[in-house]
């Protein structure tokens, strides 16, 4: 069912154009340029997404994908623990990093296995 349409970038470009117009208006109206720059950063992040979609359409057909992905949960828990470590102490940052690294390796193994099965 998924055949990788190409037209998705149009609204993004249109929206970004409006944003640029509003940002330029802000830059003209205000003396400092920081706020206008902040404003223009928004669409700047989206334009590469539109280009990516245009240049690399999604492959058609259903994908072979794990129905359950425990490593993703493990990585998230590791990331959260590491973040809380900012206030909890270095030990927690290290525990979080370790859990996250373990999850990452597990995820790589999972994805490699998936691709091997898809190649058969």
């Amino acid at each position: 069912m998924s055949t990788g349409p190409k037209g998705g970038g149009g609204p993004l470009v249109a929206w970004s154009a409006i944003m640029v117009a509003l940002g330029v208006m802000l830059a003209i109206w205000t003396t400092g340029s920081t706020t206008a720059l902040l404003f223009l950063l928004g669409p700047a992040l989206l334009i590469p997404l539109a280009a990516f979609s245009r240049l690399r359409p999604a492959p058609g057909g259903p994908r072979l994908l794990a129905r359950v992905s425990v490593p993703v949960v493990v990585i998230a828990i590791g990331a959260a623990l590491a973040a809380i470590g900012v206030t909890g102490g270095l030990w927690l940052v290290l525990v979080g990093a370790e859990v996250g690294a373990f999850g990452l390796v597990w995820l790589v193994v999972e994805i490699t296995g998936e691709r091997r099965r898809a190649g058969r």
Binding site: M1, S2, M19, T30, T35, V68, V72, A76, A83
Partner: protein, 528 residues
């Protein structure tokens, strides 16, 4: 564990839904405690410090942990179905986003278990109130880290929705054939991708300020923080609005038995609306004197134009339609009527001289509760009542649903309307005590909060009872127009088992019914 780690977008969305309901109830309990305290002047139940924690965690919970994720969760469930995709783009990223959001929420609330209590520097954590001398303690740190995690999680979920719309549409599903709800989700994800990273950065800088210092110093530091915060803080209001406009639009078209009126005007207005909503953040800073008030006043007032177009489209869809007043339609109408009050009072605060008068008062509290509670929550409930049969295969109890609508509508207006008068009469927001002359309206408002609680319980009872004793819904109980109603209820793992119908408009199922009707008429006309 299987369900908690499932990559299917419908299961991830269900997890987001359950978590957001949990945080809604938690944050709602805090609101009830506040209204109990405010029922009479003087301090009754909580101290000033506890009250600070209550309103901070109530606002934070509702915005970061309930309405924003609920809006994105609705999109996560429905967008792949509406565009005819077998799955969401990057399912693991969506799952990762959910877990970051959940863990972020739990981190925020875990502050209550610390010595100094939870974060109490308001949901905006304005500097210098939120720095290490303004709000010392681990609780505020946990609040900052929790917000960063939760917002990052929401951002990742939004990216998967955006990629799905751009990359996984079914053959024939051009951008101008996207359903109304999907268009509103697309507009929402633009804002999320453009503004949410700024808050994650702001929270990173805030934690650095609290632990190292020297990041947001002096009055310029405070203004710089406000710029960063409100660059996220205003668009997020629309993130909590657009998806529900889409949900209401779908319900209104279905229950008016008509195509959505002014589809292309809606698309253009959405693009302008989202861009303008990114350009109004400075109106939260009128009173600082550090922003160009004219610019932000102009852009804020201009918001009324695309908003007016959307209202025109919704009302135009109903005009001449065969209206059916089922529960989703009632909630949709409640959204339209009540959000209007929030929107119109928004024009008042878009004007700097009027904003100077009401800023920091209960007028503002009334304004944003009309947009977010009486507006967005009713829109969300319209969506929940509309799509519940699709997601579960069961119908909700119609009488209970209608009764809960009326109770919630009564409660919302009794709670929030008096706040306009309280604010105009000078009652400041974020205080546990007030002048005795304001007692009657505060009591009325507190009674209203109790009525809302009854309404919420009725909705929850309906959800649970309808799931426990199922009344089968069938694939399309409403006679709807969009692709999600083509598949079974609930949809299978890969969304569609039967081939999709031809997609020639934003309402392919309506096209199909009309073609069948025409064919039937032709058969009748031809003599045998």
């Amino acid at each position: 564990m299987t369900w908690l780690a499932a990559t299917d977008h419908k299961k991830t969305a269900a997890k987001v839904g359950v978590a957001s309901i949990f945080f809604f109830l938690l944050s709602g309990l805090l609101a009830l405690t506040m209204r109990a305290e405010l029922a009479q002047p003087g301090l009754q139940f909580v101290s000033d410090h506890t009250y600070d924690e209550l309103f901070t965690m109530h606002g934070s919970g509702m915005i970061y942990l309930f309405l924003t994720p609920a809006a994105l969760g609705l999109g996560l469930y429905l967008v792949p179905l509406q565009v005819g995709a077998a799955e969401i783009a990057a399912p693991r990223l969506a799952l990762f986003g959910f877990w970051l959001y959940l863990l972020g929420g739990l981190t925020m609330y875990s502050g209550f278990l610390t010595n100094n209590g939870a974060g109490d520097a308001t949901w905006t954590a304005t500097i210098p109130l939120s720095n290490s001398s303004g709000t010392p303690g681990v609780g505020m740190d946990l609040w900052v880290i929790g917000v960063a995690l939760a917002v990052l999680g929401s951002l990742l979920i939004a990216i998967t929705i955006l990629l799905t719309i751009m990359r996984l549409r079914a053959p024939g599903m051009t951008m101008l054939r996207l359903p109304v709800f999907t268009w509103t989700m697309l507009a929402t994800t633009f804002m999320v991708v453009a503004s949410f990273p700024v808050l994650v950065v702001a929270m990173g800088l805030l934690i650095a300020e609290r632990h190292i210092g020297g990041v947001f110093t002096g009055s310029t530091g405070s203004v710089a923080y406000q710029h960063l915060f409100w660059f996220y803080g205003h668009p997020v209001v629309y993130v909590m609005f657009f998806p529900f406009v889409g949900a209401v639009g779908e319900a209104v078209a279905t229950f008016s038995r008509k195509r959505f009126f002014g589809y292309r005007a809606l698309v253009v207005s959405l693009l302008f609306f989202t861009a303008l909503s990114m350009a109004v953040w400075g109106h939260h800073m009128f009173i600082t004197g550090a922003v160009k008030n004219q610019y932000y006043s102009l852009t804020s007032t201009l918001l009324a134009v695309p908003a007016g177009i959307e209202y025109l489209d919704l009302i135009g869809t109903m005009i001449g339609g065969a209206l059916v007043f089922r529960a989703p339609m009632l909630f949709a109408l409640g959204f339209i009527a009540q959000f209007l009050i929030g929107g119109l009072t928004g024009i008042i605060v878009a004007s700097p001289p009027l904003d100077y008068h009401v800023n920091g008062s209960y007028f503002i509290v009334a304004h944003f509760h009309y947009t977010l509670f009486a507006g967005s929550l009713f829109g969300l409930l319209a969506g929940v009542h509309y799509w519940f049969p699709k997601a579960t295969g069961a119908m909700l109890r119609e009488r209970l649903a209608k009764a809960s609508f009326w109770v919630l509508a009564l409660g919302a207006n009794v709670t929030f309307f008096p706040m306009f008068f309280l604010g105009y009469d000078g009652m400041p927001r974020r205080v546990a005590d007030y002048e005795p002359r304001l007692g009657d309206l505060n009591l009325l408002s507190s009674i209203g909060a109790g009525v809302i609680a009854i309404g919420v319980v009725m909705v929850l009872v309906n959800l649970v009872a309808s799931l426990r004793r199922k009344e089968p819904a069938g694939d399309d109980p409403w006679g709807a127009q969009t692709l999600e109603w083509w598949t079974t209820s609930p949809p299978p793992r890969d969304n569609f088992e039967a081939p999709l119908p031809a997609i020639n408009s934003p309402a392919p199922l309506l096209d199909l019914r009309e073609r069948e009707e025409e064919a039937r008429e032709r058969r009748v006309e031809v003599p045998v």
